[in-house]
């Protein structure tokens, strides 16, 4: 896919997702990936993964008469709806799911997914749910996720989700900034309790 780079190192497999305006989610590629999975008998995993992120989605499939499109069917619905009608967020999530599934095919012990500017295209009301979906999926497949963002709302959503019982102890926040003298870039770890205080008190937490 245009928006993903896969890299295999000695000990781990890496998947890098980044967004640019000219690199909106390429559903055609996802549809091709899905078709290949169907042919090789692995599509069940995608179905199950979608269940992990949204239990109301019952089925995902393509139609030969409508090439390059993915369709979803929700529980209780008879009709299939093109993912194009689900907005950027669900398309993005499907892309994340596929990227994660690509990673699971690696025989490397450690698998890492990097998502740049994770907030792009996701409405602020859906941000917490996106974190929940991603963390559930990464936990399910034992993948480590690194995501970058400048969005205060996305950081707030992350802190909120990580304080929920289901996700307790599963997330960490690192602020990147420069050392004042050497200008070297450093990462400062913020524990989630302190992050909660910092967000509530309006402290600077984005390398300002």
């Amino acid at each position: 896919m245009d928006t993903c780079q896969t890299e295999s190192r000695n000990n781990f497999q890496l998947q890098f997702i980044f967004d640019k305006d000219y690199q909106i989610p390429v559903i055609e590629d996802l549809a091709k990936f899905f078709d290949n999975e169907v042919i090789t008998g692995n599509s069940k995993e995608i179905q199950e993964s979608l269940g992990v992120i949204d239990e109301t989605i019952e089925e995902i499939r393509t139609f030969a008469s409508r090439p390059g499109l993915l369709y979803l069917r929700k529980k209780g619905d008879e009709n299939y709806t093109s993912v194009n009608y689900f907005g950027d967020a669900i398309q993005k999530i499907i892309r994340y799911v596929v990227s994660i599934l690509v990673l699971t095919k690696s025989d490397k012990k450690d698998k890492i997914i990097l998502i740049d500017e994770i907030e792009n295209g996701i409405h602020y009301t859906a941000q917490a749910e996106v974190w929940r979906m991603l963390i559930r999926l990464c936990k399910h497949y034992n993948i480590q996720l690194f995501a970058t963002t400048h969005s205060l709302e996305m950081i707030k959503a992350f802190q909120q989700v990580c304080s929920e019982e289901e996700f307790s102890g599963m997330g960490g926040y690192f602020e990147l900034g420069r050392l004042p003298n050497s200008q070297q870039i450093i990462a400062v770890k913020h524990d989630l309790e302190t992050l909660e205080y910092e967000l509530a008190s309006g402290d600077t937490i984005r390398g300002e």
Binding site: L179, H190, E193, T194, Y197, E198, T204, G207
Partner: protein, 207 residues
């Protein structure tokens, strides 16, 4: 480099800004805890940890912790122990006394603390400079109520004084705006030259 004073709440912020106008000139940051009673230990630890995090990117020179002593709950020693529980956990140093800076090793940070005796609310009552018939009357009434704790009574007096003795009827209608230390200080409701403030002024001059 940055200098930061941690206080309990908004009224403390307004009070020390009025008491030491140079704080603003020197761009000293003031952070509010939102309470620091005996059941609020974590409230001190989080801002200290936040400052430690921030120090890596924006170095801090001095940190001051300004809390009420609240003699009903603490002695000076036990209040110092309360502060040290967080300071030691976050910075690995122990404050030995009030108004004495302790250097944090491998860091630019010096840290100290000061306790307002007995607390800001009583101190404000002592430095009120205008007649206070309404506040005194309401306070006397409160004192007859056995089910109200001393701390709540102490907190009530400055609020009564500002609302009923200092603000006029029109100002009271916009209580959120006017019933504050900052606003009443413009009406010379407080004697900021009182001798009992000298010790606190000396502490603030360390920054």
């Amino acid at each position: 480099m940055r200098k930061v004073i941690i206080v309990e709440g908004k009224q403390d912020t307004e009070f020390i800004k009025a008491l030491a106008p140079t704080l603003e000139v020197k761009s000293i940051e003031i952070k509010e805890l939102g309470g620091a009673g005996k059941s609020h230990l974590e409230k001190l630890q989080s801002p200290l940890q936040a400052l430690k995090n921030d120090n890596a990117i924006n170095p801090i020179e001095k940190i001051g912790i300004l809390l009420d002593l609240d003699p009903k709950d603490f002695t000076v020693e036990s209040r110092l122990a309360f502060v040290n529980e967080s300071v030691e956990k976050v910075f690995g140093v122990k404050l030995l006394d009030t108004s004495v800076f302790q250097q944090v090793s491998d860091s630019s940070i010096q840290i100290t603390c000061y306790f307002i005796k007995p607390n800001l609310d009583v101190l404000l009552r002592k430095i009120a400079s205008k007649p206070s018939p309404s506040a005194d009357c309401l306070y006397r009434c409160l004192e007859t109520q056995a089910n109200i704790g001393q701390k709540e009574k102490d907190k009530a007096w400055p609020l009564y004084y500002m609302r009923w003795d200092i603000c006029d009827a029109k100002e009271r209608r916009k209580g959120l705006e006017n019933v504050s230390f900052k606003c009443t200080d413009t009406k010379e409701a407080w004697n900021l030259n009182a001798l009992l403030l000298e010790d606190l002024k000396t502490f603030l001059s360390l920054f």
